[in-house]
Every structure is written in structure tokens, then in C-alpha cells.
Amino acid sequence: MSYYYSMKMKKYIQDFEVLRNERLSKDYYLLKLWCEEELPVIMPAQFAELKINDSPSTFLRRPISIHDVNYEKNTITLLIRIAGDGTAKLSEIRQGMILNMIYPLGNSFSLPLKDKVLLVGGGCGVAPMLYTARYFMQFGFDPTLLLGYRDKESVLRRGKFEKYGNVFYTTEDGSFGEKGNVLNHSLFSPEVFNFTKIYACGPEAMLKNLGKWAIEHGVDCEVSLENLMACGVGACLCCVQNTNEGHKCVCTEGPVFNVKDLIW
């Protein structure tokens, strides 16, 4: 498969100190973590496996995307949506507590070959898109972001996202940006659409529709998937995604796949 799968980056098990836990909205929290040691290079769409402390009902680690990185300050930021007990515990974590992570995991979005690229995030899927936009920008690209939310109250980190690209919004109820889901946005109307590549993360249904659209319109499209994981390092074979080449591990051969390769 494509070149970006072959990258072998060293993985670390490290303790991070929680610098800040900020509630962004009803279900979303922003965790800022600091590590004593220098951070390794992290690629866009890579993730970490977090150990959940003090949770009687959470036995395995939980995969969470890298939302942002600050190499000068040795900090990593995570965007957490409460989905169940494990993420609920993460939302309760307080400053000064220690969080153990295995990272950086997975492959990454490939660097665009030419401008203009569209980054699409839906709901919790906006998480990896901030660092992706920032990363692409460093390489001279000027990404456009399209972020889909339920409603105005759910919109996350506007100021931050808007620093790294031109940002458009959809909300299901139309209370912010255009009404509908991301594919309903006018960016996708034939007269307007002028991107060479789409990068996306979000709910499976959104990614499938987007992938179908991209293939039909001959647009290159990479998606970051969120399968259930046990190990995160390619050992258990639990996280597989069916592809043209058979079952692939989302944790090591993903989370990023080109939609052309997926059998959905």
C-alpha cells in the first residue's frame, strides 16, 4: 500500500502530568499533558493508548487521537468526548494527576502532494484535525477545514482551529454554519469543489458517505478510522478493518486508510 504505511516510529510508554483539564461543552473535555522527557516526533492522525486509572469497569487502555503538540513545552493536548466509563474517568482527571500513555501509535495522514486540501471532521472526529492542519501548514499548505457538529453549542475550539486554516461549519440544526451534515455543505457543490484531496475523521456513516462521494468524483480521500482496540500495537488483531488486501490492523496499518482500499 502507500508509502506512509511503512513508517516505523519508535513507541514509548510514558507518564504525563496533567497540566489542565478544561470542560469545553457538555460532553467534551480538553486535557493538556506534560512530559518530563522530550517528545518524539508525532505525525497527524497518530494516537495514544491511555491507561485509565481508578476505573473498576475499565480494564483496557483507551485510544485517543493526538489533538495538538507543543514540542517546546513538551505538552500534548487531547480532546475527549465522554462515550462511556473510560472517557468519563478521563474527564474527571485533575491537574497534577499522572496519565500513562503509549504513543505515538498508528500511521498518519500522508503529506499532500499539492495544494488545495480539505480536512473534514465530524463530532469527536475533529480531534486529530487540529494537529493535522497545523502540520500541513508547517509544510507550506493552506488547508481548508470543514467541521460538522450537532448544533452551535457543540462547536469546539473555534479560535484555535481558525488559526490553522480557513474553517467552514455545518450543524445538524443549522444553528451555526450551514445546515445539515458535512456532505450537504456548499463546498461539495460541483461549482465550488476545487480540492485535490480530502482528509477526514468522524462517525463511520459520515466517512462512508464521504468516501463514496470521493470515489464517485475521483477525488483522493484518506480517512482515519476508530475501531475497537485491545492492544494498540498490532499484537492482538482485534481492531481489523476489511480492505482490498484483507484484514488490516487499524492500530498499526491504520488508523488512516485511503478510501479506495477499504471494503466497507
Binding site: K11, L60, G234, C236, V240, N242
Partner: protein, 303 residues
Amino acid sequence: MVNLEINFNGLKLKNPVLTASGTFGYGTEFTDFIDLNRLGGFIVKGTTLNHREGNPYPRMAETPSGMLNAVGLQNKGVKVFCDKIYPEIKDYKTNILVNVSGSAIEDYVATAEMINTLDNIPGIELNISCPNVKEGGMAFGTSCVSAAEVVKEVRKVYKKHLMVKLSPNVTDIVSIAQTVEEHGADSVSLVNTFLGMAIDAKTRKPKLSTITGGLSGPAIKPIALRMVWQVSKAVKIPVCGLGGIMTAEDAIEFLLAGASSIQVGTANFVEPDATIKIIEGIKYYCRKYGVKDINELIGGLKS
């Protein structure tokens, strides 16, 4: 200095800590976290005669203090193992065993025969206990007759250490252990996973594509420990104990119950360096309690 070395019926283990098949990939997945040469050994993924895609996603469900899996022996087949994977791992200075799985006796035999040719593989673990493949696996491990048959046939072609992995999903694991001993096993390992199930109450659907799957992790430890205790009293060949081992204390409990070595499985998912922590922890325990030789602990349960 504490002696951690064990002679496991001919297999020389530098310490009693191995890794469990299917939870440690081919070892290479863990080299960022630990030095494989420090392990007593590792047991690679379930290997079958032919390539298998395994079961459809979803294959995993978390349970209280454990997990269910329904991987279904996804692997590229023994030929790819011999040609591609073996050369990459063969020089680690530890015991690399191959977990041999199958759904027909001929397949087990053919697979074992090929592995027999690999110089640096000192043994196989014959998996007659996988609950996650329709056509067999566990079926062999749940009756004495069929267990006897597969062990007998594999023994004919396989000349090195033959460990047989037993299923816990049986009424009488002792008689199965005795049967495989009788038919030529050099050791037994137990337990494989327990057949379990999980349902999502919201969607009313099974959480696994195959409905049922194999339960592993700390949840099963008390049952695994009991079985190891029963079996190790009843057979002369050594027992490799596993099932929910997370810490050095867990490992020592299995040794006390009669296991001569242990395997770390699901723990690798939670702590990729669990094996090393367990080895260090065993050393610490021995120093603390004045144990000079780990062999003193084996079967050392007091009453």
C-alpha cells in the same frame, strides 16, 4: 543471586516467564518496550497450515476484569511464517515456540512437520483449545479421544518439545491432561480462553461478530489456577500455567500451584512491558522471602 533458571522438560528457560500465543504477535511488536532476550520464551501467534483471514470485525469486547476475543486465528499460514517471519526473529536469544492450530488432524501434522525443520524453534505449542474457529480447534481439546488422536499423530512427525495447550471448557481437565501425556506430550500449557459472550443491551446485538468468543484476563485467574493445581498433581510432565496473570504475585501463585513456567497474555495489552515487570517482581519476591532458587517455589503450596 536468585536462580531463575528452569529445566522445562528439556527446554532451558532463563526464567519461567513466557508470553501467550495471540497476545504477543511475533514478538517484534514489543521490541520498542522490552528486550525480548530477557524472556524465558515467547510463543508466537496461532499458526495454521493455510492463510486465514480470521473472523469479521468486531472481534473484541471488554468485560469485568477481562476481555472476549474472536480473532479466529488470523495468520498468513505456516509457509509465510517459515519464509518471512522466522528469519526475522530466529536470532533472539530466548525460546521461541510456535503455537500450532488447525481444524483437521492432517493440518496440524503438516504444520508441525514444517516447523520441525526450523533450527531455532525448540518447540511447538499444540493448540487444541481455540474456541474461536467453527470447524475444530476447541473440539479437539474437549474430549480425551480426539485429544489423544491429534497428539499421537503430531508426535510422530514432531521431534522437539511438544507442549499441548488445554481447553478449560471441560468437565475434567485432568483426564485430558493425562491422555495427552500418555500420547507423547512433553508438557501441557493451560488454560486457553473460556467460551463467553457479550451483548449490547442498547442495540440488542452480540458484541462479537461470532456471537461467542474467548474470555481472558484476571477474571479467569481463579479457575485457571485451580486447573493448574489439579493437573500438575496428576501428570509427571511439567505444566505451563496461564490465565489472567498480570503481576509477579499472580505468576508466583501459579508456580506455587504447580506450574513450572507461566505465560503472560492479556496483560501485554495493558502493559506492554508486563513481562519484564513480572520477571523483576519475581526476583524481588525471591530476595524478600529468601528463595534462592525459583524451583523451590514450584508446587510449593503449603497446607
